[in-house]
Amino acid sequence: MTTPVKEPKNTAKRPHESRLKQLTRHQLFIPLAALALLVLFNLVADPSFFLVTVKENSLGNPVLSGNIISVLDNASELVILAIGMTLVTASSGGQDISVGAAMAIAGSVILRMVCGGQVTADTMQMSLLLAVLIGILVSMVFGAFNGVLVAYFKIQPMVATLILYTAGRSIAAWINNNQLPIINDLGFKYAGTFLPGVPIPTPIFITALIIVLFWLALKRTNLGLYTQSVGINANSSRLNGLDPKLIKLMTYVILGVCVAIAGFIRVSRSGSINYSRMAENIEMDAILAVALGGNALSGGRFNIYGSILGAYVIQFLTTTLYKYEVPSTALPAYKAVVVILLVVLSAPVVQEKLAGIRKAPAKTAKGVS
């Protein structure tokens, strides 16, 4: 609620501020600075990090390989989730912690469809498009379940989504009778690996498509405006003729679609599923991406490109940590430190103190000039 009040002040101040200060105040400053820091670290430590080579994959096709490609490729699910999470955060002022579990559900549904209920299938039993559509539909229903709890029953988002977080992976296992279906059809794996004859991993294209779609939606429709106004002040948006409950519900359903696509990419990478390990802890990364992108976790104004950039920065960090042989199980500890640093830096109390420190030298500088 304070954002609209503060905003004109900031803009009024801006002309007097130096270039550097304008830069640090920019919303994308933190993710860009973090990215620059990581790039610099890798350049100094081992420049071969950035090497991109052409290698033959298991099918004998020439494909691009290298850490940068792997960052872009592996960040796909996270980027797609971060987009949906940004909308949910903006409208309801809370985060959905069930996205990882919901991804397992979507993946499980899609696998069950293409395997036709068998444990191993060599060819797809159903058209892939139809299977993915069913996956998206199921995921939208679960998104709507979360959305109804949040919007109509007014339960805090993180607690409402706790239900699906607890049950999701069990539901995913239940859908396939706790079996682990495997599909060996190459066509199924195109989306998660490479299209024949294309040297760039397919998830990069899918992510680009989703980003463009959301860019269009935000530009051409009122999605962004409505989401922000509901997040800033639900009551006054209601007085202006919006239905805050419906808009909140809608953002959760949109997140459901994002979750299904991310889940499809994840199962498509291997053609199999591991209910308890699939997309583990991805909810943490998605929330972190939103925060890193300079979006307030308490809702309101948002910048979707900040979240997208944030997601790539996180994947960059993960890949870097892996390169220096940090075991995957210890990874959460490092990330937790980054999260705590970020939220502490973005806390209003700390911001005020920092602003106080900034202001003091600014005044003296003015006096001198």
């Binding site: 912690i97 709890l149 029953f153 007014k154 339960i155 805090q156 993180m158 607690v159 409402a160 706790l162 239900i163 699906l164 977080y165 607890t166 049950a167 992976r169 069990s170 539901i171 296992a173 239940w174 706790n178 802890n281 943490m284 929330i287 925060a291 976790l297 308490s298 075991p327 199980t329 210890a330 990874l331 959460p332 500890a333 490092y334 990330k335 937790a336 430190v337 999260v339 705590i340 939220v343 502490v344 806390a347 209003p348 109390v349 700390v350």
Partner: protein, 348 residues
């Protein structure tokens, strides 16, 4: 308006309504638990009728009882702490490594447990109370930090062989009059483990703290409305901070009890216990929005939750996923009921 709401004593009326909410939710929990257990005895018979079966619920969940009470305290002040399960796990692992590889004893285990809990409580409490960061985010980070640290300490399970420790672990305190006679005609006394006694004492202590001390009452005041609490002269920040510290220490104690029960350090220890603790608190009538709740209810919440789990598994649905789905369904039911109660009260 159907009922005449007090004209001049609105403040008092509201207070009475809130109190009756606490008691109403507590009553629902107790009734639900007894109904569940009675129907289990009636329809499933056998095992449920034996007193030892009931005591085993306590034996298996001493740690969860303590964790849930800590969770309730934080929830009463309007916060949440989801790091408790991971802290339990970290305490178990560090204690096991300490006993096995560094020649520790029971005293060091207790110190480690409480120390780790206190550290998590102080850091999280400071960040929540003094920097105004959302408790969920902070404790989420705390949870991941504890999980990561556990695997850094040891990836492999550590089994404890320390004799002094095992002696305490295997101590069985006989409960007179509840034993049963087995098929061979031998009398088997009913027993509880040491942890249960500690857990019950903790519940009692916290119950007294919440009901009769200034600190306990200020937890409710802060959770109900931090602004009014502030006007009453309560130090809101300090109260929130202390709630988180207490919850952290209780998570440490829960870790010690878990360790006493299983006797090993493993990365899977306490997995999902934060969710069980939240579910128990909610079932026990603690409102997520703060200001309403009771540790006695939480105690019954733990019992109800585990009775349901036992019923589900004795019905033949013994796969792990059924238990998760039941817990989630029960959580969902109680959340919706609470939300309806709350919405109706706000409308008045």
């Amino acid at each position: 308006m159907p009922k005449g709401i007090a004209v001049d004593k609105q403040g008092r009326m509201k207070e009475r309504a809130a109190m009756s909410d606490t008691n109403l939710l507590l009553a629902i929990t107790v009734v639900v638990f007894f109904l569940l257990y009675l129907s289990a005895i009636l329809f499933l018979g056998g095992g449920f009728a034996k007193p030892q079966n009931f005591l085993n619920i306590l034996n298996n969940n001493a740690s969860l009882i303590v964790l849930s009470c800590g969770m309730s305290l934080v929830m009463i002040t309007g916060g949440i702490d989801i790091s408790v399960g991971a802290v339990t796990c970290l305490v178990c692992m560090v204690s096991a490594v300490n006993l096995e590889q560094q020649g520790g004893n029971l005293l060091t285990v207790v110190l480690i447990g409480l120390g780790i809990g206190l550290a998590f409580g102080v850091v999280q409490g400071f960040l929540v109370a003094h920097l105004g960061i959302q408790p969920f985010i902070i404790s989420l980070a705390g949870m991941f930090f504890a999980k990561g640290m556990t695997t850094i300490v040891s990836k492999e399970p550590v089994r404890v062989t320390n004799e002094g420790f095992l002696a305490v672990k295997d101590t069985r305190i006989t409960v007179p009059g509840l034993g049963s006679v087995n098929k061979l005609g031998e009398y088997i006394p009913a027993y509880v483990e040491v942890g249960v006694v500690i857990a019950l004492l903790t519940v009692l202590l916290l119950f007294c703290l919440l009901r009769w001390t200034k600190l306990g009452r200020s937890f409710y005041a802060v959770g109900g409305s931090s602004q009014s609490a502030n006007m009453l002269g309560i130090n809101v920040r300090r109260t929130r901070f202390l709630a988180h510290v207490l919850c952290g220490v209780l998570a440490g104690l829960g870790g010690i009890l878990y360790f006493l029960h299983v006797g090993s350090g493993d990365v899977a220890n306490g997995a999902g216990d934060e969710m069980n603790a939240i579910a128990s608190s909610i079932i026990g009538g603690t409102l997520l929005t703060g200001g309403v709740g009771n540790v006695a209810g939480t105690f019954f919440g733990v019992l109800s939750l585990n009775t349901i789990k036992r019923i589900v598994s004795s019905l033949g649905f013994d796969e792990a996923w059924w238990s998760n789905i039941t817990v989630a369904a029960m959580l969902c039911l109680f959340l919706v009921v609470q939300s309806v109660v709350l919405l109706r009260r706000n409308k008045k």
